[in-house]
Symmetry: D2
């Protein structure tokens, strides 16, 4: 709040109400994951004519918002997003806002939402924003590195499952089936069946779909030369900085973690 408050007696009889603000500090020493999730995005995406099963413009917007959140809050080590959700990982030993759950969740959600509205028109160029996007958020603690990796594996496996299902579903629906028929066709089927169905019936090779759709989006920080200002002659001054970079890769297997050891470092 912007205020120039000075000691005042006028308010003292009411100030006892501050004691009702209970502490919500998250356990020290744990990984903190803040996951944000679109509220009512089925309706929101219909309202704005998002392409099914994936609207690249909407995914790019999500990705850009997440990158801005990482620019704003340096304690975030990694972000993973799919569909209308994004998870942000804070380091085990972060002391950001004293690890208070409501501070962390509300500020990340607020930053993400602000960017979503502000950057909407750059991505969905011909689509006016007809309703307010909203995201809920929660903070979860994970004690072990393996828990954190399992959490991220859980989200990425979910991305795969949803994307494969949805790709089949919308191929069937776009070919004339009713949603109920499409659902019945897919019920209880396995990965192999779905891939075959896509290939045989629709000529879609699932493996060739964009990695962003199949793997979701991973943002980590890497050292890179960045222009920090210009010299008088107009030439750029470059400095090495840690900047968020966007990947669409497997984060379930060891390889990713072995390539980026700083992610789990103390």
């Amino acid at each position: 709040a912007r205020r120039a408050r000075r000691g005042s007696m006028a308010n003292s009889k009411y100030e006892y109400v501050k004691q009702y603000e209970l502490d919500d500090t998250l356990l020290p020493g744990c990984w903190i994951v803040v996951r944000i999730d679109g509220k009512g995005f089925t309706k929101f995406s219909d309202l704005h004519g998002f392409e099914k099963p994936n609207d690249k413009r909407a995914l790019d917007l999500m990705d850009e918002c997440a990158r801005e959140v990482m620019n704003e809050f340096p304690d975030i080590r990694l972000a993973y997003g799919e569909s209308d959700e994004y998870s942000f990982v804070l380091g085990r030993n972060t002391d950001m806002y004293g690890r208070r759950a409501s501070k962390l969740v509300s500020l990340l959600v607020s930053c993400f939402t602000a960017n979503y509205v502000a950057r909407w028109s750059a991505h969905l160029t011909d689509t006016p924003l007809r309703a307010m996007p909203m995201f809920d958020g929660r903070a979860v603690c994970y004690p072990l590195d393996s828990n954190l990796r399992d959490y991220l594996a859980w989200r990425q496996a979910d991305t795969h499952i949803n994307n494969q299902y949805n790709t089949c579903f919308w191929a069937l629906v776009n070919s004339g089936k009713t949603p109920a028929e499409a659902q019945a066709t897919l019920k209880g089927t396995q990965t192999a069946f779905k891939n075959e169905l896509l290939f045989q019936n629709f000529g879609i090779n699932y493996a060739h779909l964009p990695e962003q759709f199949k793997k979701g989006s991973v943002i980590i920080r890497q050292r890179a030369l960045v222009e920090v200002k210009s010299r008088e002659d107009g030439s750029p001054v470059m400095r090495e900085r840690s900047v968020p970079i966007m990947l669409h890769v497997d984060i379930i297997r060891d390889e990713f973690w072995e390539s980026h050891p700083q992610l789990l470092a103390p």
Copy 2:
């Protein structure tokens, strides 16, 4: 999240991580206040050239955002705002999102922020948005009606104290004093002194300043006729609805509460 998920085994080995999401249900039967507060708004207001001590455009934007939050979430009974903060009061017995603190806080913050960005240009017409506004939020429980009234009195007394101080401070600074000199002049002074200073030195009658500055903004719901649709001949169909209305009145004294008994009704 928009997804057409079906039962899947592929993800089951990771799903244990869901158990780490601890319950954060707020105590039943208490008033819930969600207060949101601008992050770094001193800097944000300088960056956008807000008028000091009060920028009516910025206050109107805050007020409009709060009204939209009330339109979105019918369980909010009352909202009170000043400067860059707003408090939302949920009924004692609300079961909105199961009273989960993180859900309530994040959704209100997200809704407010989205509106702030989306409606910015309607209020600050010639000022491009040069940084993302962000709000943190927290939820606090109050067991008694008197606690809730004291909470709101605390915020409104704060409004008065800040506004009176800031009005003097900026009058002094605008008349040529340094901020340090202005501060020294005001240090330890009482209400009567400040009013006298404003009147004698600057011809400002504090009592005549806009109520929005002195009292902050109160939003409650009232029954009103609203156009819900149009008939074929173009004539409006009116229905009685509960709609948010904006007031700038005293909420410390009994009068306000006696005039609006529904606010504290079970």
Copy 3:
């Protein structure tokens, strides 16, 4: 802990672990009820040959322990017990141990348990203690006076229901029925039926059973003259003190609360 600790560097590298002790302060301004409950008391009562359905010696022991807890902790306003459980009510504004849940629960449980073991032989004179009694405990907050009264009504109604059922059950079993038969006889029956069954078959007038069995035990504080010390001549020095007194009365209806207005006073 009894220790004469002095500032020491020797331990400083480990002291960070103290930060992992999270705050568990209970919401201010609410009634706090700490309910303790016997662990495995069906087995415990069988092991010690408690009379069924009520063993007056065991109930008296419970009552005496609760009274000692009230002697030890003056912030307890009222206690209510039945069977192997006891509820202790702390005043809305108590600051006992900073309202920390684990402190309150553990100390009340510990005090109760210590007395239970120490006073066992005075009540169950010929029965050696063959297993350790254990009680769990929990703290619950109630915002309104009506919530507190409803909580206590819930426990006393439970006492009545259990006692009436158990009185019938054991009358049937003691008359030769198997437990399964007794259960089948009582299944789904109402109060009137049970009273009739007791009267017709066993000559028991339920209304004449001891109030301690039917109503449970209520402990409140009352002003009374107490001997605080003796004069040199041996004569007692009497002072008015607030002392716990034991009642077996209805606490559901208004009468009790109207007779003891201090219980709900601020």
Copy 4:
């Protein structure tokens, strides 16, 4: 609770109060330490004439109570005690009482207290119990093995610091100094000075004091042959069981943990 409850409508209007019992589940996957601590034991030990600085009878009683707690609750892997406190370590993945903090804390405290009273006379044979012993308790979560080891190191270093100080303090007091003089003599002194003081002035070789005083007590489980019943001929039936054993050893250095790898095993 021992009760034969059957479905009843009589209580349903009050049962809403159960919803006020909030969840206090501890974070999964973390080590749980429940530490219990004597309330007012300086006074309690004076009242019962405990020897200073250490009363072996009182320490043995504490140790025996802790062993009984471990016999009662198999999920406790290790206990560490000193003076009037004891810490109990539950395995990372314990699901004992659903990891509810108040259940765990209250039951361990209750079990400990019951044993303390029941076993008092076996240890302090000629000293009647003149006041009720009470212990508070709290549960703390530790995410990493290293945190758990640091926690235990913190307690054992504390044991050493207190014991060395108290040994000097009481030697000085017993030799005629006032408590204030003793305190002044020791203020700010280091280990070497204290050892020298004990040796030069009182002929005490600190290294030769009992390990129980210097190291505190460690209880772990080990496989051992135990008599589980007797045959008809009176000969014992032996079975291998995991039984609590008492040690007074260093648990700060690696050696202890390397010798007992099961303690930190998943």
